[in-house]
Each structure stands twice: as C-alpha cells, then as structure tokens.
C-alpha cells in the first residue's frame, strides 16, 4: 500500500479572477490531535456547481463545514480561506455575517417546527426585516426558486413538519436562499431522499446555478456527474484530484481516483 502522503495529486488551478472562494492549506484537527483534513487547497469558480466526492471519512464534509465556520466549536482549523480579499478563517471575522453570505443546506432536512412561511422569514425577521408585503414576496420567490411553490402555495401556514422529506429539503433550500447568500454549501442534500425527490432536488439546483455558487458534498457519483461543473476527489483527508467534472469522470489521472469512480459507477 502506497503512503497517502506520497501519492501524486492533480489539482487544477483557475485564473484567480474567476474564483469566488479558495482555500489554502486548510487542515482540520478534532480533539486537538486527530487530523481529519490535510492541507486542502482548492479554488471555487463563480456561478458553478462543484461536487466534493470521496468515500466516508475522506474529509469532504469536514472541509465543507469548515468553509462557513460551522466546525469552530468542535475542531481546530488551520490554513486560509479567501473570500472577497479576506481570510475568513481569522478569529476577528464576524461569522454571523459570513454565514449570511455563505449559506448551508444539511444532509438531513431540518426545518424548524414552525409554519412553512415562518421557516423562510424567521431569519429575515431576526435581521429586522418587518415589511409584511416584502416578506410575502420573498416567501413566494424563494419557494419558486426552490421549485416548491406550486406544491405549498395554499398551505403556507401549515407546519413544515407535515411536508414530505423531499419537500422539507427544498424548503430548507428556500430558507437558505431567502437570506440572499452568494455561496451555498450543500452537505449530501439528497442522501435522505427517495429517487423522485432526488431528481426534483437536482432540477432545483440546476436552475439555481446561474445565480449562485454551489459546493456540494455527495457520495452519489451519478449525481455528481449529472449536475456538477467541477469535481474534487477526497481520499483519507487529502484532495487527490480536482478538475472539470467531465475530465475527472472520463479521464481520471490518478489510480485511486479511477478505482473509486469505476467502483462507484458499478
């Protein structure tokens, strides 16, 4: 077995003008000493979908949660995350403002136990937005953008928990959109959904691509190939390969990448 540190990596770099976010030597440590991510350096292109693939324990979710500082409480994160000329991994960064710009959707749908409408406007009201008419418009548009409007428009005051799993997840996307983020992080958003809901969710993401930058963790190769523009392959905490999705899937450079992709497509 080859030492993982000596495996040759194949990371594509862009013109820095095209990037919206990039990481440099990002490493994550749990419990002080256990390292889960090793020097990840990736650039993310504006208005694109990037898929992070790899087996479980490969560090892809850890990487994702570190970008909007959701891991601060449980892990030590070293390295840099560049966003609009700022290293947002610094301690003086206002993480609350940051998360309004870099939103997140989780693996398990997690709507609040409130009404559908309230789910979407809760954070807006907390930010001091009070105009009812404007809030109503935002509710409608974010639900439309998340392709949920037609299904729920007559029941906006119904409990969000009454929705199906797939609907709940699209509600979570609508909720994230309402805060007007620039980047959306998606942590295996379809893993808890059935095939029909998954395909609806994927349609939604495709529609959103021209307005938002999305970074999505997935362990479903078909899904990655269906909707992503770029793909990064993680293995045991290291990023081994990063390129256009097409290239990664049709012409993987490394042996480990090739084995993984072939094995996953079955």
């Amino acid at each position: 077995m080859q030492d993982i540190n000596e495996v040759k990596t194949h990371i594509k770099n862009f013109d820095p003008n095209d990037e919206i976010l990039s990481t440099k030597n990002l490493s994550v440590f749990y419990g002080g000493t256990i390292q889960k991510l090793f020097n990840a350096s990736l650039q993310f292109k504006k208005n694109s979908i990037t898929a992070l693939i790899g087996g479980s324990g490969s560090g892809k979710s850890t990487f994702l949660r570190s970008i909007n500082r959701m891991n601060d409480k449980v892990a030590k994160i070293t390295g840099e995350i560049w966003y609009h000329g700022l290293d947002i991994n610094k301690s003086d960064i206002n993480v609350y403002e940051l998360r309004k710009n870099i939103g997140m959707v989780f693996q398990k749908p997690n709507p609040f136990p409130k009404s559908i409408r309230e789910n979407i406007i809760y954070a807006l009201k907390a930010n001091g937005q009070k105009d009812k008419g404007q809030l109503d418009q935002i509710v409608e548009e974010s639900l439309r953008a998340a392709a949920l409007w037609d299904e729920v428009k007559d029941n906006l005051d119904k409990s969000a928990l009454a929705l199906s799993g797939g609907q709940q997840q699209r509600l979570c996307i609508a909720r994230a959109l309402a805060v007007k983020p620039e980047v959306i992080l998606l942590d295996e958003p379809a893993s808890a959904l059935d095939p029909v809901s998954t395909s609806k969710l994927e349609d939604t993401l495709k529609q959103l691509r021209s307005d938002y930058t999305m970074i999505m963790v997935t362990h479903n190769m078909q899904q990655a190939s269906r909707i992503s523009d770029y793909t990064a392959f993680f293995h045991l905490g290291h990023v081994l390969e990063y390129d256009k999705t097409e290239n990664i899937f049709t012409n993987p450079q490394g042996k480990i990448t090739e084995d993984y992709i072939r094995g996953s497509f079955g």
């Binding site: 998360r99 939103g103 989780f106 609040f112 809760y122 119904k158 409990s159």
Partner: protein
Amino acid sequence: MNAKTRDKVATAVIYALVSVVVVILFGIIGNILVSGVPHLSWHFLTSEASSYQAGGGVRDQLFNSLYLLVLTMIISLPIALGAAIYLAEYATDNWFTSLIRTTIEILSSLPSIVVGLFGYLLFVVQFGFGFSIISGALALTFFNLPTLTSNIEQAIAGVPQTQRDAGLALGLSNWKTIRGIVLPAALPGILTGVILSAGRIFGEAAALIYTAGQSGSTIDYSNWNPFSPTSFLNVMRPAETLAVHIWKVNTEGIIPDADIVSAATSALLIIVVILFNLGARALGNHLYRKLTAAKS
C-alpha cells in the same frame, strides 16, 4: 437445589418483594385518602386554622403554599434557565464545567434542613427579613435550583443538533438560535420539569420552618396593597404552609382534632402533588403532539 429450582425460588422471591412494595404504596395512598378525604369539606378549605379548638381549617395555609410556590418559581426559573442554557449550549469540556457540575451536585445533595438553616442565618437574621414569605421563597429557591436546572438542561439537550445547525447556518447568533428555536422546541420538557419541581416545593417543610416561620399572622384577603402588614400579598409577613401545618399540629399543636386536621391536610397535599404529576405528563404529551403535529 439445582439451577431450575433456584431460578423458580428467585423469581418467587422477587415477585413477593414487588408485591410488598405495591401493597405498601396502596396502603399509604389508601390510608391517607380514606382518613383524609371525608374531612376535606368546603368549610375546611375556606376557614382559618384554630390554635386550640377543634374544627379549624387551612385557608391561609393553602394560600401561603400556593403563594410561596409562585414566588419561588418566579425567582428560580430565570436562574435555572440561565444555568441550564449555559450547561447545555455554551459549556465546553473543561475544568470550569466540571466545577459547575460538582457545585450543582453538592447543592442538590444538601439536606433541606441545612438549606433552610442557611436561609435562616442569611435572610431571617443577617438581612433582618424575619420569618417571612420572602425568606421562605428564597430558601425554597436554593432547594429547587439544582433539580430544576438539571431538568431544564435535559430538555434542552434533547433538541436535535440539526436544529441548531439550521439556525446558525442562516447567520443567527447562538443566543437567537437558542431563544427562538431551541427553547420553543424544548418547551414541553421544560414545562414538565417545572411542574414536577412545583410538586416538590409544594410538599417541602424542612426548609421552611425556620424561614417562612411556623405560624401565620392575620391576613386580610381584601387588602391588595402588598406593603400593608395585613395584606395577603405582603411578602414580609410570616406564613405557615400546608406541609408545615401538618408538622406543627403533630409536634407542638394542642388542638384536639390534630389527627383529623393532619389527615385532611395530608390528603389535600397528596391530591395536589398527584395533580401536578398527572398535569406535567398530560401537558408534556399535549405540547409534544402539538409541536410535531402533522396538521396544525
């Protein structure tokens, strides 16, 4: 004796011991209700206690018990809530957190008579409050804090982490997430905890005999001025509760119908405590169903 016989004997012994416990409980509850309920008349509930004649009631004691309960909750709930939020949400795994937990455990293990005597030293003597409702409410607060805190902490910790993630990912502060999302979701558990500790407070006497006092003053229920010495709302007046009344008439009282008064008061106490217990469960279930309802 072979293994099979031994198994049978052990099973028989366990069933016998369990039956004894069940019989004891029903004996206790039955005895109190049978001897007490017949004397629980409207007259008993609405007339003043008598100091040496038969036929007294427990009107003032009943009111004092409820008043003390409310005051204690008003004082202890914010503190317990704050401490529970700190422990469930902010505390990290370090020496300070374990110091806090140790401190709360110590407080919960102190005998209530010791807590009452501390209240006596500090409020009755040092601060000069005298035997008063406020001294009693503060002593009961100390007695109540550890249980209430850990009940609330459990309720908060029971809210799934994904809910917190959802709030934080929208750019809400931890505090806003806790207040707006975690606490409402934990509300059924918190209310159940509050009601259960209310039952404990209602029956507590040892912490009160040297703080709220063992005798009442004349109370005027039409005097709504809390600063007037005879007002029923005055927190500086001494007050005897139902539980203290039972102790008092049995140990120092000279009324001829002490047994009847005690039995009736005991029945009253037990009924209220059982109602609290049932109420806590019903309310918890109801709110839980409402919060997670498929249709609302």
